[in-house]
Symmetry: C2
Subunit: 357 residues, 2 copies
């Protein structure tokens, strides 16, 4: 019966469209659900929906994000063998509706069965997919909470993310000099040639401790003109210390600048740090408590590092949050799916964690 | 006084906006000017404006094109030292208003002074800049004309283009496989990496007998995704025989296809021939006649090959046309300018050519 309600709830959420910056319909749904439970909620300056439930002991933050990557359409998902699949027109949206439904179901059971629980700060964030904007904008000081769980997909359900990679976006603008390809070429500087000649670090580096990828390129404005501009959008993910990351950044910057200069052009490289990465301390009290919950049912705590960002990076280090994986697979694609029974297990584990915390 | 009228006329034309496919205002102006001269004109299926003037001897085609490259704004040009400059907001548009004004002034003088002239077929073409569309669409058979002059910019005024390069556009689509750059990379295929790894012939080749340029690139759809698509727009200009050009095309195609295959992706390369190039025979009667005109005033015929397309490629080989350069400089840019006295000289030379033809 619990699984049935959880299933119905996640299907309701998946019927609602959502993308980063357009979470309003999911937020309205959650406000309504919380109000059924008589839990007051409000929106903060970033657009996050925040709700609190008084309780005993040290406060705990529970988080899931409301946005999805595009298309993020509301749709009727396909239920087969206790697993939800997309209808094929959109990403399923279990990233992060799975996290949302775990929190909603946990709250319902606490209230229905009057279960023990700490003071809870529920944070449904906006724009996680756009760069953890909601989590970065969350003001932890107001809510007096120092520990928390981020329910989001990473690995199989129940696995905890041990390490989150830093994430830095970079933009490159290469400038040459245009001209007619049928006329004197001596005064032209081909920006695409500069890009091709630049030997910058990319791909998987340092035994997969860092990854550098250029995801977009755009250059030139006409077939019959020497291209005088190329713009690149890149990113760097790394588990390495800041000094090492600075070395990569310098190498990327000088590779483009020096090559452009050699051709007589110029290159500008700018970096923007979205998150600086984190490493969970295995002695953190909340993690130890979760480990006990697992031990009670004969399971061991599994930890895995990830290159993929999550709101955990936004909450830490102010809040000792960790990402508890929901088990959603193939997220960010129409092949996204989620098994429902592991979500029910996560609800039960969270309720058990409330007891032991 | 003649130079003054020529100057006023070209300024009138430059006040009118025109781009490829949007020549209607220039065409309307020319219809009106021709009707003042009692020369009937009509539009053909391509949008070219065609006018005829009965005369004695072998018919002659006179051509200039009505379109300009963007922005092609109508504007008030700057007249300084008998030279017209753009006002700085647009290309001047003397490409090919200079050719148009030479033809208009030639017709006016023929009629005013009752000068000898052959039967004339005046063709003001559309969409020269878009790939010689108007000239390619012109039906020479209807007009029974086998010789002609294309007034267009190439070199200093009065120089004849000896050889026009062939022009072939090519499009490349490289397809890889996308994926999240923070997840398993094994199944991804980076299309930008394929482009960078492809060693295709480009730049100036074979002692500048051929030029291959990629003018536009676009690839990837998000910073945080492995790019699975790159599209390229390229062109090849060549003075070389077809067999050599076919070798280049094959080399380009196999370079992209083989590299893509090596990465596990694929590449599609398609070519489209816009013009197949031509070489003027120095024994052509019209060229010999022009040579005599120059000799009468102590000048030698100058010939130069060009990589730059002109309607001559569209008219030949059906019509033995040649490009007579108007002397416009820095065309296709806001630095475009044209000296006016050489245009007056070209009018006088054309009138003299009518006598000797």
């Amino acid at each position: 019966m619990h699984l049935e309600r959880l299933t119905n709830t996640i299907i309701e959420i998946l019927r609602i469209p959502s993308t980063s910056g357009h979470e309003e319909q999911v937020r309205a749904y959650l406000e309504e659900q919380l109000s059924h439970l008589k839990i007051p909620s409000s929106m903060d300056g970033s657009g996050n929906l925040i709700a609190t439930l008084a309780g005993q002991g040290r406060p705990l933050l529970l988080n899931a994000h409301m946005d999805r990557v595009p298309p993020g359409l509301g749709h009727e998902p396909v239920l087969r063998d206790s697993t939800l699949y997309s209808d094929g027109t959109t990403n399923l949206g279990a990233d992060d509706a799975a996290g949302i439904v775990i929190i909603l179901e946990t709250l319902r059971r606490v209230l229905e069965h009057n279960l023990p629980h700490p003071p809870l700060v529920i944070v449904f964030t906006v724009q996680e997919e756009a760069g953890l904007c909601g989590a970065n904008g969350f003001d932890a000081a107001i809510w007096n909470v120092h520990d928390g769980i981020v329910f989001d997909n990473a690995f199989a359900a129940g696995i905890v993310v041990s390490q989150g990679a830093s994430y830095e976006a970079f933009d490159v603008t290469i400038t040459g000099r245009t001209g007619h390809p049928g006329k004197d070429l001596a005064s032209t500087i081909n920006a695409i040639d500069i890009f091709r000649a630049t030997d910058y670090p990319h791909g998987s580096l340092a035994n997969d401790q860092a990854r550098i990828n250029i995801g977009r390129i755009s250059g030139g404005c006409a077939r019959n003109a020497i291209p005088d501009k190329v713009t690149l959008e890149g990113e760097m993910r790394s588990f390495e210390p800041e000094a090492t990351r600075e070395t990569y950044k310098k190498t990327i910057r000088t590779a483009f600048e020096d090559t452009a200069q050699r051709f007589g052009g110029r290159a500008e490289v700018t970096f923007k740090t979205h998150s600086s990465g984190y490493t969970i301390n295995t002695d953190e009290p909340l993690l130890k408590t979760y480990q006990k919950v697992l031990a009670q049912r004969g399971k061991e705590l599994e930890l895995q590092p990830t290159f993929i960002g999550s709101d955990t990076s936004g909450f830490r280090p102010t809040i000792n949050a960790f990402t508890l994986s929901t088990g959603v697979m193939n997220e960010h694609s129409v092949e996204e799916y989620v098994a429902l029974e592991p979500l029910e297990q996560l609800v039960q584990d969270t309720l058990e964690l409330f007891k032991l915390w």
